[in-house]
Symmetry: C2
DNA sequence: TTCTCCTCGCTAGCAGCGCTAGGGACGAGA
DNA sequence: TCTCGTCCCTAGCGCTGCTAGCGAGGAGAA
């Protein structure tokens, strides 16, 4: 009896935990969809609560605050992002082609999923970066960039730093364009220039 | 009599316009100082109104809204920014050294005046960019960059596009670092790598 | 000089934000 | 069946950007 009672208690608890986890996923998905559809400004706690058909305080029983929800969306986004970079790099042969493919995949992702990109790389969000505690997905995304850039690190250049620089350049292109500070129409040519300068046509590829 | 009356009216009107202009400058300066001291989040209309010792609605008689105030701060910032880039480029000789000096001045400005930099290049602000209507100061800043990058445009490369690309790279370095996504400590080395890739050591400079 | 009008800056308030305190319903376990 | 504990909701706080509408005070006319 005692054992069945404990088993029953455990199953109930298990079910509750399962339901809670499900609801948490629901929150993250809703936040992401709302952000992608109408931008992060439209993602208010009230709106999000209405979307998941719960009251506002429920959000705070899952996440510390709005930032934490955005961070969760960002982590999910990183997984997709990594997959796309990987697919792009695996679809081509040669170091130069890989660098180009990754660069194109990067900017394409940012333009296709601006809200996701912002959560990951633009907005202030309490996610650890560039430390061992950084989310795995994030580290893997950086790893994909690293694999593409590494072949072009000259003697004595640290591949990590070169990758960070390439990443920064891609990020700059994307953000300046998205904020209207660079005209969209020349994006492909700017990207080509960038790639040319990291992978000169007469070397390595 | 009629003419003196009209002259008197004109001087009164002139004085008022002068006072209005002065107050407008006061608003912009206060906004800038507050932003530099405590960040843009601290620049609320109430706080700003208190700072200039007027009530909130006065702000709206000068500017359409908070965004317009930030845009005004940004324009002022551009003037300083341009001056710094110019000073940096004039202080050195040689194309490569100029490119490096401008790059360093750029990132140094962004790190020393983060609030100003954000208003100019990061935050959403209704300033026209990359069009003939863009503020003169902005166009001059770009011109300084262009002068530095131009010598490194290869045959058939458009200097404007190459400049935009270099700008984007600098912007990416700065923003990723400022948001904690790139470690500060390696900034100089990343910047050096970037410059190396835009001005190869065995050419032009 | 007096009166009228008009300009200008104020008080007060709106809708919406992120976030939280506290109570009430409902189910679990005795 | 009763009690206890969990969970979620209502209501509200202090803040945001922004605005309507009034009242004082100076400008211009008589």
């Amino acid at each position: 009896m005692a054992s069945t009672a404990r088993i029953a208690a455990m199953t109930i608890q298990t079910r509750r935990e399962r339901e809670r986890a499900e609801r948490e996923r629901l929150i993250v998905t809703a936040a992401r969809e709302l952000a992608e559809a109408e931008g992060w400004d439209a993602v208010t706690t009230r709106r999000l609560a209405a979307e998941i058909e719960y009251s506002q305080p429920v959000l705070y029983s899952h996440f510390k605050g709005k930032d934490a929800i955005m961070a969760a969306v960002a982590v999910r986004g990183c997984e997709e992002f990594t997959a796309e970079l990987r697919a792009a790099s695996e679809a081509v042969e040669g170091a130069r082609e890989t660098l180009a493919a990754v660069g194109e995949a990067y900017t394409a992702f940012a333009r296709r999923r601006p809200a996701l990109y912002d959560a990951m790389f633009t907005l202030r969000v309490d996610l650890p970066f560039a430390t061992p505690e950084a989310p795995t997905a994030l580290q893997e995304a950086f790893g994909e960039l690293l694999r593409a850039v590494e072949p072009f690190a000259a003697e004595g250049e640290e591949p990590r730093l070169l990758t960070e620089t390439y990443w920064a350049a891609l990020h700059g292109l994307v953000t300046l364009m998205r904020s209207g500070r660079l005209p969209e129409e020349a994006h492909d040519r700017r990207l080509a220039l960038l790639i040319d300068h990291f992978a000169p046509r007469d070397t390595a590829g």
